[in-house]
Amino acid sequence: MVKFLHPGITLLLLMLWQSTWHASWADTSIPPSYHWGRGISWPDADFNLGGYVNVSYQHPEKPANQLKLDELSLFLTWSPHHRIRFFSEIEVDDWLSTRQSDSFSHALRAERLYVDLLASETTTVRLGKFLTPIGRWNIIHAAPLIWTTTRPLVTDETLFSPHLNGIMLTQRFQLNEHNLDVSIYSDHSARLDIFDSSTTGFGSAFGGRVNFELSETSQIGLSFIDFNTEVSPNADRNDLLGVDFLWKKDSYEVSAEAIYRHASDSQGQEQGFYLQGIAPLAGHVFAIGRYEYLNGTHHFITTDTHVGVAGLAWRPFVPLVFKVEYRFGAQNEPIAPSGFFTSISMFF
């Protein structure tokens, strides 16, 4: 990483770094500290270092079993100025596995790498590599945050790239004491994503998202993106529409996402949704149920897939979660094979 930095940029970063150490008054400074699940913080420098780890065991009915280190992620946040906020997530993805291990250098990638420019208290401009704001799952896809080891089909990277490389403008409005967040973005991953060797990225894209807090317990979101893929830059562009919903109260949760994607050529069209419910049982154990449906041409394969997921999650401490689930369905084997899936994940 350091070899990419121009000496002038390095000097600027050092000056910003030094300035932050004098941002607070000496007699009111808060000392650096570590909290499990919240990382290590240097408040005077507005610097935080943390991350998460996820290990899974997958026992599908058809392919071989697999124990693997899914993710080892490191977050770094730094605000060298009131209006500037850097964030990076460096990740080792699918590195160690009993089926087939990847080389460390190939598994290492920048999952996110961006700077937020706070133009005002309600306006933010984001530059760099960040998560594609389609639905809710993709934005909070970290294993300690989600309830299942498996990911719903309508959020899968074969449907849309989980990352954007470009610029995003987010504006917050308040309507009758409810937050309304509107984001628009433009992507040119084919040119800008220099840190990723995967081939699932966008070629270019533009789109937007609206999220509205209906109440203190529920939110609704609408997403739109127009894109082409890096592997098929000459194919027709895709349009994807999404709608999502979240309700949370007293440890109960209901969430849903639906998508419709269309392209005029052989990429075809597909539509699908998931509906997921969470209910607390006893002793920090939660029951999870999910139904998924996907129909159309999914990654050039005609599909009409029904999937059910039934599972348990045990959260003995806030940063730690153990999950076990069984996935089943109809016409699901090629893209979401039935079987047992379990994982342990933890913020550190």
Partner: protein
């Protein structure tokens, strides 16, 4: 480990009295804050709003989780108990946002707010002195006067 003050507060919360006490939201005298509403405060203390109207970064402060004033503040402003916010802070941590800093006492809150531009905290009316300005009065249904001893200097 639940202490006696927490037990007393929970008992009071179970039977909210007809009268209400206020929690005062405070900033240093050099920190501008106009048009304060409970929604704006919620966005600041949940760190959805990071910058104030003067272009200075907000530094929201909290008391310890077992402090009855903190518990009443959370229940009144967010309508959620402190524990119920943990999943929210987990999601924010993934976005690089950490919860407000925790100070050990009301006096530490007053000192930090006084000495740091952009700092914002909360106290009871009996703790108010000339070092800080009140930007919002948050009426609570809870009796907080029993926790009204003057902060240690």
């Amino acid at each position: 480990m639940m202490n006696m003050r927490t037990l007393v507060l929970w008992a009071l919360m179970a039977c909210p009295p007809a009268y209400a006490d206020d929690i005062l939201v405070i900033t240093g005298t050099g920190t501008p804050f106009t048009n304060a509403t409970s929604k704006r405060l919620e966005n600041i203390f949940l760190r959805k709003t990071l910058l104030n109207e003067d272009g200075i970064r907000w530094i929201p402060l909290n008391l310890n989780p077992d402090n009855p004033i903190r518990q009443a503040f959370s229940d009144t402003l967010f309508h959620r108990h402190i524990d119920a916010l943990e999943s929210y802070w987990n999601e924010q941590y993934f976005q690089g946002i950490t919860p407000p800093y925790v100070v050990a006492s009301v006096e530490a809150m007053l000192r930090f707010v006084t000495g740091t531009r952009g700092a914002i905290g909360y106290i009871l009316p009996c703790h108010l002195d000339e070092r800080v300005q009140v930007v919002f009065k948050l009426p609570t249904p809870y009796t907080l006067k029993p926790y009204c001893q003057k902060p240690a200097q």
